[in-house]
Amino acid sequence: MQRTLEKGVEILIKTCGYFTSVVVILIVIFLFKEGISFIGSSPVEEGFSIIVSKSNSLQSITSQQAKNIFDGKITNWSELGGDASDIKLFSLEDLSKIFSEEELGNDFENSDKCIEKLLDSIPGAMVAMLDAALPDKHALNVLPLDKITLYKFLADTEWFPTAKPVGVFGALPLLLGTLLVSFMAILFALPFGLAGAIYLAEIADKRVRNFLKPLIELLSGIPSVVYGFFGLVVIVPFVQNLFDLSVGETALSGSIVLAIMALPTIITVSEDAIRSIPSDVRQASLALGASHWQTITRVLVPYAASGISAAIILGVGRAIGETMAVLMVTGNAAIIPYGLTHPVRTIPATIAAELGEASFGGLHFKALFALGCILFIITFVTNYMVDSISRKRKI
């Protein structure tokens, strides 16, 4: 009895040991299931068809071109390489204005014939039609849109997921925004973080260190939403006044807030790296007549270089994934960032801001999961790098 109970508890403990691995695998499954189904789907909103005249020579158009047509930026088929005729847009509402209810029939059962009539009279017409309002079988020329590919998702320069009826999903501005804000943050944080680590590990005496260490831990304990709030009421106006901008919510504000948030990571990891150097290395340098400062810069820091680079990679990884603070201070404009004093939008901020509005299982929803996959891959890679660096150090 006693033995079976013990056996049971031990099995339970073992199961819990594997729990985190199971969770990571589950995260991968649920994230990539949605994310991968996004690649290869058509950018037309579900339930819509784009119909053109049979004489139209175009085989397919891209989502970017479709959006430009719907925005009125492209007005002639020749601009897309087709025959020269003006593009006229029609929607379901337009159809019911042109044709009477009898002509369209009950439940739009004759809508295909009406559209055909319309297309015959206006060859350049383009009809954005709700599938539900079309008969099941029709002989209309549905213009296919280029499927979303991984390359287009990563390289397209516009992000308009809510454009109707064709969304544009280019993650490049978001990716560049994320990288810009994160790398600038580390650039700002590095001098302070390194100085802090050197000071704590080498210069400060034990009393000062015991006093400072908990304070730096406190800095990492402050919730990111509080950093965002502080950034919004202090740093954003400060940046706005400093550069005389119309809005202070810029990449720069985001970098400064992220720099403060990345400090504790950089300091604690680099300090550990410096402190774990065997003391004979230090003694040897001092014995050769080097001053303490020379020992630090020419012996200890190079010796701890791999640990310090692990700290930097870890800091970048954290900064890339940071959501709330960045969401609150960067202005969230999904455009290719032109500079530090312009608003940008990062990948986590996009997910946080848009997932609430995206309909479940829709294209926009899947696109946000695909962004989540990108984030996951980035953090996986940074973790792997840190892991391999710290493993090498031990050998």
Binding site: C16, F30, L215, L219, I222, P223, I260, F376, T379
Partner: protein
């Protein structure tokens, strides 16, 4: 061989004084930043804090009243997520340190735990929404939010458990085995009681982490405004960090909601301060106790 080109004693001394001073100033600057943040939020928030602010519900579209539902909601999320994460985390820590043998399996588990701790909180939010809210059909609820937060805090609990177990002297284990005790009995009666204080410290730190997380509960638990308190774990709740986020960013009357925002930020900061203080006091207390032995 290391060559020091500027090894005249004077330059050596002065450059050392200069750079040590610089390192000191930059370090002090970090502390100044922390103090500025704390001072800023405390000085502006303190006048907002009142008995009413802590015990009343928001009124007049968040411009008046208090934040009681958000406090209660955060307490629920902390309680349930810790109830889930703590037993699993401690047992996982015990497995990794006491049971698993060095080798590829242990390395794999450690790597996965590391990975889990590196995953951004917004990805946890996405995952929680996909698995708990939609797939398991819990809907946006305290349960879904707590489960998501529990997964997020697991690595921290596992790691502190591991560290605490590591600090227990091997002699205790061997002594127990020598008396004929089984492995599980030894862990339960000898190892865990010694490691317990440090494990509790980890628990307290993860409470601090959970109480401030926003992104994971955005789509799994948090509600903008609820007229009454949640009555079951299947309902949504308000939460302090989410409340701070919405009243700073989406209110129409920014000037009127700002004081409420300062108050909410102060309450959040106080939670973090108290949690850190308690954890540090506990750590020092038990450290001094161990030394006396």
């Amino acid at each position: 061989m290391i060559v020091f080109p500027d090894s005249s004693d004077q330059t050596k001394r002065w450059s050392q004084i200069f750079f040590f001073g610089l390192a000191r100033i930059l370090s002090i600057f970090i502390i100044v930043i922390l103090l500025v943040i704390l001072y800023f939020i405390i000085s502006r928030g303190i006048s907002v804090i009142s008995w009413e602010f802590l015990t009343a519900a928001p009124k007049e579209s968040m411009t008046q009243g208090g934040i009681m539902p958000a406090i209660i909601g955060t307490l629920y999320l902390i309680l349930y997520s810790m109830l889930i994460a703590f037993p699993i985390g401690v047992m996982a820590g015990i497995y990794v340190h006491e049971y698993s043998k060095d080798g590829p399996v242990k390395r794999f588990i450690k790597m996965m735990t590391n990975n889990l701790s590196g995953i951004p909180s917004i990805v946890f939010g996405l995952f929680g929404m996909a698995l708990f809210v939609n797939y398991l059909n819990f809907g946006a609820s305290i349960l879904a939010g707590s489960l998501t937060l529990a997964l997020l805090s697991l690595p921290l609990i596992i790691r502190t458990t591991e560290e605490s177990l590591k600090s227990v002297d091997q002699g205790f284990r061997n002594g127990s085995y020598a008396l004929g005790a089984s492995k599980l009995y030894t862990i339960r009666k000898v190892v865990l009681p010694i490691a317990f204080p440090n494990i509790i410290t980890g628990l307290i730190l993860s409470i601090g982490r959970v109480s401030g997380e926003t992104a994971p509960i955005l789509f799994t638990a948090a509600a903008y405004f609820l007229p009454k308190l949640p009555s079951s774990v299947m309902e949504q709740c308000m939460a302090l960090p989410y409340h701070l986020y919405v009243i700073t960013t989406s209110g129409t009357e920014v000037a009127k909601t700002r004081p409420m925002a300062y108050g909410t930020a102060l309450v959040l900061i106080m939670i973090v301060l108290v949690v850190n203080l308690v954890a540090n006091l506990l750590r020092n207390y038990f450290a001094s106790k161990v030394k006396m032995k």
